[in-house]
Each structure stands twice: as structure tokens, then as C-alpha cells.
């Protein structure tokens, strides 16, 4: 009985795993198959070709978009880590007037749906002249409520004595954060770093709104417009190729840091 149940489990898991992985496999071989075969493709194309990729490279500046995404996502991640830890530290270890008020405000902003601030935020970008600049993509995301909460939570578990000792040694607040707290908070930093990087890399609605210049578009934005607009000229292979390119960076990062990815996402849930 146990053996039967066990095999049933493995079958279910394998079938499910296939369901989750096969479409990606199909996408990859679709991108290297000749155009007229894609409609009939299941396991292997009859011939391989890289023409979809060369055509895509001709049509859209995907390399530039990759760099844009890299710059934007990295800047945001670094900013979020710096500011999040600064404010999380202040909220968890320091005492000052209005501390609790700010904490509640932060919680409140987390519940605010972005749909409310979308239009006015765009208008601010217009008024500042930040449309079609990196600033519009980066600055609104530099401070993130979730990261502040998570840092605060994590710092609370760091013994006060450590901080007091540093103060006695003459460290100022910033030094405390970066020299004492950061080295002792690697799990939190990795977690928040990965979540933030992933979220900013995949963000597409906001770039669609504030970036019109093709040379500044982020990767998901460029691929979206490519898939939706007429530039792909209804050629499936090219669209699939662009999708593969878009997926590649994150999947590569995932293959190396799988453990951290999964842990990070799991802990967001726990913190809720």
C-alpha cells in the first residue's frame, strides 16, 4: 500500500513538474526552429536556426534594454537596501519623537493600492522633467515600505549591547549601520536584495508610462512593445526569441542562487 501511494506521489509530482517546465522548453526550441515549423512543434524541430535571434537583434535594441534594466534594478536594489536599513534601524533601535507615527504611516502606505498614485506620480515626473530619464524609473522606488519593515524586524533581534559597544567606541549612526548591522544581517540583506532586484527587473507598467524613448526602455518593456506592436510582423519565432532573452538573466541568476531565491520569497510570506 505504501509503495503504491509513494509511486502515485512521484507520478503526480513528475507530471506536475513537466507541466511547469515543458512550456519553457517549448519556448526555447520554438525560438531556434524555422518559422514555418513552429506551428507543428512538439518535441524537436526538424532543423535548427538562429535566424529568429538575428532578426530580433536587428529589430530591437535588446542589448541596450538589458543594460538599462541592469542599471535600474541595481540602483533600486542598492537604494532600497541603504535606505531601508537606515530607516529600519532608526525605527527599531533609536528613540525619537514621532517614531511610532512614522511606523504607522509606513504600514498604511503598504495598504495603499498603487492605482491611486499612478496618475499623479506620472504628472510629477512630467513636471520635474524626468520623463525619459533613469530618474523616473529609479527615484520613486528607492524607498520601499516592505524593506523598512523587514529590516526593522530583523534588527530588533540584534542585541542592543553590540550597538552600544560601537557607540562607545565612537561610531556615528551611519557607521553603526554599515559596519555593525550589515555584516550581521546578511540573511535579511540577501532576502530583501533578491526580492527587490527581481521585482524591479520585472516591473513593466511604470516604464511603459514614463519611458517613450527606445534607447532607455527596460528589457521587459521593450519585449512587451515588441510583442504587442507590429515590429515583430506576426512572426512567432522572433517573439519567442525575445521572450527567451528576457527570461535568461533571471533564470541564470536563479540557477546559481536557487536556495536564496526560494528562501527570500518564503520569508516575505512569513513576515506578513
Amino acid at each position: 500500500m505504501k509503495k503504491f501511494k509513494s509511486t502515485l506521489f512521484y507520478v503526480a509530482l513528475t507530471v506536475s513538474a513537466l507541466i511547469f517546465v515543458y512550456p519553457f522548453y517549448w519556448m526555447i526550441i520554438g525560438s531556434i526552429a524555422p518559422e514555418n515549423e513552429i506551428g507543428n512543434l512538439t518535441l524537436m524541430p526538424k532543423s535548427l536556426t538562429l535566424s529568429s535571434y538575428s532578426q530580433m537583434l536587428d529589430k530591437i535594441p535588446i542589448g541596450g534594454a538589458f543594460i538599462n534594466s541592469l542599471i535600474v534594478a541595481s540602483s533600486i536594489t542598492i537604494g532600497v537596501l541603504i535606505f531601508g536599513s537606515m530607516i529600519g534601524y532608526a525605527l527599531s533601535k533609536l528613540v525619537f519623537k514621532g517614531r511610532d507615527l512614522i511606523f504607522y504611516i509606513i504600514i498604511f502606505t503598504m495598504t495603499l493600492p498603487f492605482q491611486i498614485t499612478l496618475i499623479p506620480q506620472y504628472i510629477i515626473m512630467v513636471k520635474f522633467g524626468w520623463i525619459d530619464t533613469y530618474l523616473a524609473l529609479i527615484v520613486p522606488y528607492l524607498i520601499n515600505a516592505l524593506s523598512i519593515i523587514m529590516f526593522r524586524q530583523y534588527f530588533k533581534s540584534i542585541p542592543d549591547s553590540l550597538i552600544d559597544a560601537a557607540r562607545i567606541d565612537g561610531c556615528n549612526e551611519l557607521q553603526i549601520i554599515f559596519r555593525i548591522l550589515w555584516p550581521n544581517s546578511m540573511p535579511a540583506i540577501i532576502t530583501i536584495g533578491i526580492i527587490t532586484f527581481m521585482a524591479s527587473w520585472n516591473e513593466v507598467l511604470w516604464p511603459l508610462i514614463v519611458i517613450r524613448d527606445e534607447s532607455l526602455m527596460t528589457m521587459p518593456q521593450l519585449v512587451t512593445l515588441f510583442a504587442v506592436g507590429g515590429r515583430a510582423e506576426s512572426q512567432l519565432g522572433v517573439k519567442l526569441a525575445s521572450a527567451v532573452m528576457l527570461a535568461l538573466p533571471i533564470v541564470v541568476a536563479y540557477l546559481f542562487f536557487q536556495k536564496y531565491f526560494i528562501q527570500s520569497m518564503a520569508s516575505t510570506g512569513i513576515k506578513e
Binding site: A17, V21, I116, I119, I123, P140, N202, I209
Partner: protein, 276 residues
């Protein structure tokens, strides 16, 4: 003060936008011309806007299909994974793959899978003798197709969350039940489910908030069709604001929709508190 950047950011990107948003709802503005005060016009227009109301309905349909489906599938797979399974890491990794990849990739991929004539799904169906399905061309099922795709994409995350929840259930309960001769199913429904209630509700709330921001999938896949059956609320707001530049009207729609989201989430939270 360390918190000062937050204060600046908050004022710029939260306080001011929200206030300005409210002010905008009473005006008409297309960015290039000066703002025009229009009183309650935008609100009147909102309540007469059949397409907007439909878009909210579409979003709710999406949630109603997507959330239960996701919970059932995630719970099912998490429960299996929780048993003594070898290669658990590999399975987990496979399930998690769609989660990290951009929604854009998933949408482009599934758009091909759902293709009426050449899509993989329909070819499989006709291969086993069934009829083709109008996944994206039948107005009655297009939104369900999107919900199915969204489930496929996100379920991995929730499997992980459920796994964590499942592992918090003390093994003594199961051992006690084993002594009484309980079957797996009985153990699941009588012990596991009640113990992971908090996780289930967290999953519901996370999925709800995520589901309300549905945008890029219908934008790429169907553009809102067929017959406006896949226009999500955010897609409609985006179109009003950034395609027609009806800034005042779009702000009104956004405000109204945010209100609906908050209401739904509050109701859900109250539901949890009552149950616990």
C-alpha cells in the same frame, strides 16, 4: 535624522500624489491644455461607464477563478512534497521556475500555447479527437484562460508558502491520529487544514492584492478583447490615462478602484479575525 529621506519620499510620492489625485478627480485635463474644473462630472461619467464597470467585473471573475484554483493546486502539491520525497529540491525548483520569470515572458509563451490553429493546447486536443477551444477568442472563457495562466505562473510561490506552513504542524498530532487508525485524507482534513488556516488566509490576501493589479497579461495577450471580456480595471485605467490622456477621469477611476480594493481586503481580514 535618518528618517528624513523617508519623510521626503513620503511627501513626494505618497502624500502629494494622493492629494493631487483627489483634486484631479474634479477636473478635466489632457496634459497639453490647462486644467479645467468640472465638478462631479467625472464621477457621473464613472457610474455610466459600462466598460469600466465591466472591467471591475472581469477582475473579480479573474480572482474568483484564480484564487481557489491556486490554493487547491498549491496545497495539493505542497502536501505531496511534504511527505518523505526524494529529489524534493528538484521538484520545488521546477515549480518555482515560472514565479521568478517576468510576466511578460509567461504571457508571450502562453499566447502561443493558446493559439487557435497552431497553439500547442489545441493541437493536443485535436490529436486526441476533441474540438479546438477558443481559449482567447471565446468571450466566455478568455478571462478564465488568463486566470489559468496566472495560476500556472504563481502556484510555485504558494507551494513554498504552504510547505512552510505545513511544516509548522506538530508531528505529535499526526502520530496521535495514526494510533487511532486515521487515513491520510482524514488526517489532512481534520488536522492539517485547520492548522494551516493562517497560511491559507495569507495566500488569499496576497493573491487578491496581486490579482487586482492584473494588467500586463491582458495587455499583451488580448488587448482587452474579445468583446472587452479581458479588460482588467488597471488596463482600463491605463488606457484612459495614458492612451486618451483623460487624466482627470483616469484619476477618478483609480481612486474608485483603490477604494474597492481596500474594501475587499478589509472584508477578507475581518473574515480571518472572525474565524480565528
Amino acid at each position: 535624522m535618518l528618517v528624513s529621506p523617508y519623510v521626503v519620499h513620503f511627501i513626494l510620492f505618497v502624500a502629494f500624489p494622493v492629494t493631487f489625485s483627489i483634486v484631479l478627480t474634479f477636473h478635466k485635463w489632457n496634459i497639453i491644455s490647462p486644467m479645467e474644473y468640472t465638478g462631479l462630472n467625472n464621477y457621473i461619467r464613472l457610474f455610466n461607464d459600462k466598460t469600466f464597470l465591466k472591467s471591475i467585473g472581469n477582475t473579480l471573475i479573474f480572482l474568483v477563478i484564480h484564487i481557489p484554483l491556486q490554493i487547491i493546486v498549491a496545497l495539493f502539491l505542497a502536501e505531496i512534497l511534504n511527505q518523505k520525497i526524494k529529489l524534493r529540491g528538484i521538484f520545488r525548483g521546477a515549480f518555482f521556475l515560472p514565479v521568478i520569470v517576468s510576466g511578460v515572458v509567461v504571457t508571450i509563451l502562453w499566447q502561443q500555447l493558446y493559439g487557435y490553429d497552431t497553439g500547442l493546447l489545441n493541437r493536443l486536443l485535436t490529436g486526441i479527437g476533441l474540438d479546438k477551444v477558443g481559449w482567447l477568442t471565446d468571450p466566455n472563457i478568455a478571462m478564465s484562460s488568463i486566470a489559468l495562466m496566472a495560476t500556472w505562473k504563481n502556484v510555485g510561490l504558494y507551494i513554498i508558502l504552504f510547505l512552510v506552513g505545513l511544516q509548522t504542524v506538530p508531528t505529535q498530532y499526526y502520530e496521535a491520529a495514526d494510533l487511532e487508525g486515521a487515513t491520510h485524507m482524514q488526517k489532512f482534513f481534520k488536522i492539517t487544514l485547520p492548522m494551516i488556516n493562517p497560511t491559507i488566509f495569507m495566500v488569499v490576501i496576497l493573491s487578491t492584492i496581486g490579482g487586482f493589479s492584473l494588467f500586463i497579461e491582458p495587455y499583451i495577450m488580448t488587448g482587452g478583447g474579445p468583446l472587452n471580456s479581458t479588460v482588467s480595471a488597471v488596463l482600463y485605467i491605463y488606457k484612459q490615462g495614458f492612451f486618451y490622456y483623460h487624466m482627470g477621469y483616469a484619476a477618478t477611476l483609480g481612486l474608485f478602484f483603490a477604494f474597492i480594493i481596500l474594501t475587499v481586503v478589509v472584508i477578507q481580514k475581518k473574515f480571518i479575525e472572525k474565524d480565528n
